[in-house]
Symmetry: C2
Subunit: 301 residues, 2 copies
């Protein structure tokens, strides 16, 4: 009998997260800047959902490879996601003091060290992937290029810059529209989620068609993820989320519920999730990824 989606996701996380966690602290075992390594480890160990590395390893499995084939990609993605949280939480950016239920990096270590911890994790992401001797160099440079474009100024960093600008304009009374909101999210959150699945495809040596399907499904799942994030910020509690909620509206952030209403946002979430599930159908082994897509659209934190 095929397990239910939540059961499947639970089993996959129990299988894959330990692989990630056995690998991602290894580079920080030795070094000449121990307090910097401590700050990087602190943010990595704060936990979180590990969605990007799991998406990456499940994508490799979906095209018939072992999850270990995508392990360096998974580690790199988690480094980049963690660095982006550290920098986004800084006083000069979103100014958050709580993340994953713990004080944020700059609250514990200071602003300068937190900036450096983020810089160190970002750099280590590329270093770990470039050094993975289990992947042929041609696939490593392919993955590095996809990762760099998704994480950089054409992707995640660009999205955060547009988000900062959008907030300032909203506070000044200028309207931010749906297409602009969609662009911000596509860059800020969507690009790295999409890259997570494309990196799994590259590491798993996918066919061109399977890679394109994973890329498109990743785009749809990224959108669904962000809509659900906005819905949760508007409706959930701090205890359930492990971070401040209701902040979006307070600081003039434009969100899907604000633009579409809560019912409209939920409808857009369902549509994006369904699109992802359809795209995944063509893959050799899509079951776990499909279950995760369903699970993410129904998550409560």
């Amino acid at each position: 009998m095929t397990p239910s989606a939540p059961q499947q996701v639970k089993e996959d996380l129990e299988r894959l997260v330990p692989l990630l966690e056995a690998a991602y602290l290894k580079p920080f075992a030795q070094g000449e800047a121990p307090s910097l390594a401590q700050a990087m480890r602190y943010s990595l160990e704060a936990g979180g959902k590990r969605i990007r590395p799991v998406l990456c390893m499940l994508s490799a499995e979906a095209v018939g490879a072992a999850p270990e084939a995508a392990l360096s990609c998974a580690v790199a993605l988690e480094y980049i996601h963690t660095y982006s949280l550290i920098h986004d939480d800084l006083p000069a950016m979103d100014d958050d003091d709580l993340r994953r239920g713990k004080p944020t990096c700059h609250v514990v270590f200071g602003e300068g060290p937190a900036i450096l911890a983020g810089d160190g994790l970002l750099t280590e992401a590329f270093t770990v992937l470039a050094s993975d001797a289990t992947l042929p160099p041609s696939r490593r440079v392919d993955a590095l290029q996809v990762l760099g474009e998704a994480a950089g100024w054409r992707g995640m960093v660009g999205g955060q810059a547009l988000d900062l600008e959008g907030e300032a304009r909203t506070r000044a009374g200028e309207p931010v529209g749906l297409s602009e909101l969609a662009l911000i999210h596509r860059l800020k959150t969507g690009a790295l989620l999409r890259a997570s699945m494309e990196l799994g495809a590259i590491a798993g040596n996918a066919t061109r068609e399977d890679r394109a399907a994973l890329r498109a499904a990743g785009e749809a799942m990224g959108l669904a993820f962000q809509i659900q994030d906005d819905i949760l910020d508007a409706t959930s509690t701090e205890a359930a989320m492990g971070k401040r909620v209701g902040k979006d509206e307070g600081r003039g952030k434009i969100t899907y519920p604000l633009l579409l209403g809560l019912a409209g946002a939920r409808k857009a979430l369902q549509e994006a999730t369904e699109r992802a599930r359809c795209l995944l159908l063509s893959l050799p082994n899509p079951h776990s990824l499909t279950a995760l897509a369903t699970y993410l659209s129904e998550r409560s934190a």
Copy 2:
């Protein structure tokens, strides 16, 4: 007749800097976050000595390759150097408002955008190098690994973290010794200068011996460079340097002149420069690099 060192350096800079400047703004021609691209361009165009990219291209030439072979490495090095200046200048770090004679990035664009401009340049460095189809993938991953280790928490970022800690300890009256100062500089400045020459070796397809010689010469030149930087901070003027001077002592920074005296620092500078020149002698075509080593040890800004 062989030109004098300053004449040789002048000719090399006139030849190589335009190659760099024709290449390094290209990725920022298009994009969906124009103000972010503007902040990145602002800091890139502020000028500077372009030492790292020139060292890189001259190292490729020293082992018999064309400087263009090392162009993507040179661009990546300049992105990383520029990002490191943007982040180091932030109020939470060294708090500098003037750099290369112009207001620093966060003074012009704000702190949040400056952090993002640095993140964008760092990410673009790896992206540009990973995407250089003129280099075989095996050499690209080799170069990416060397660059990542030199730039990251085991190198430059680690050095900056130790430097911040050292300043705090000095202000608290705890002594910082010569070996600790040497470690900070070896990581903070030396690692990327050494990598500049090693990347030139990799891009230029150097023999194992030539690569080792360039790496060791880079280590010595990095040390010389930092000693001269400290000497200039203690003795030069703001107008000549294009940045604040005399700040080191004011904020409790330990420097070579402070530890060795000015004469002792000058002697250490000469020794390191001589070591570099000797190591370069074994290369097929060392003349320009040797001239640059001499020139850097005598520079006045």
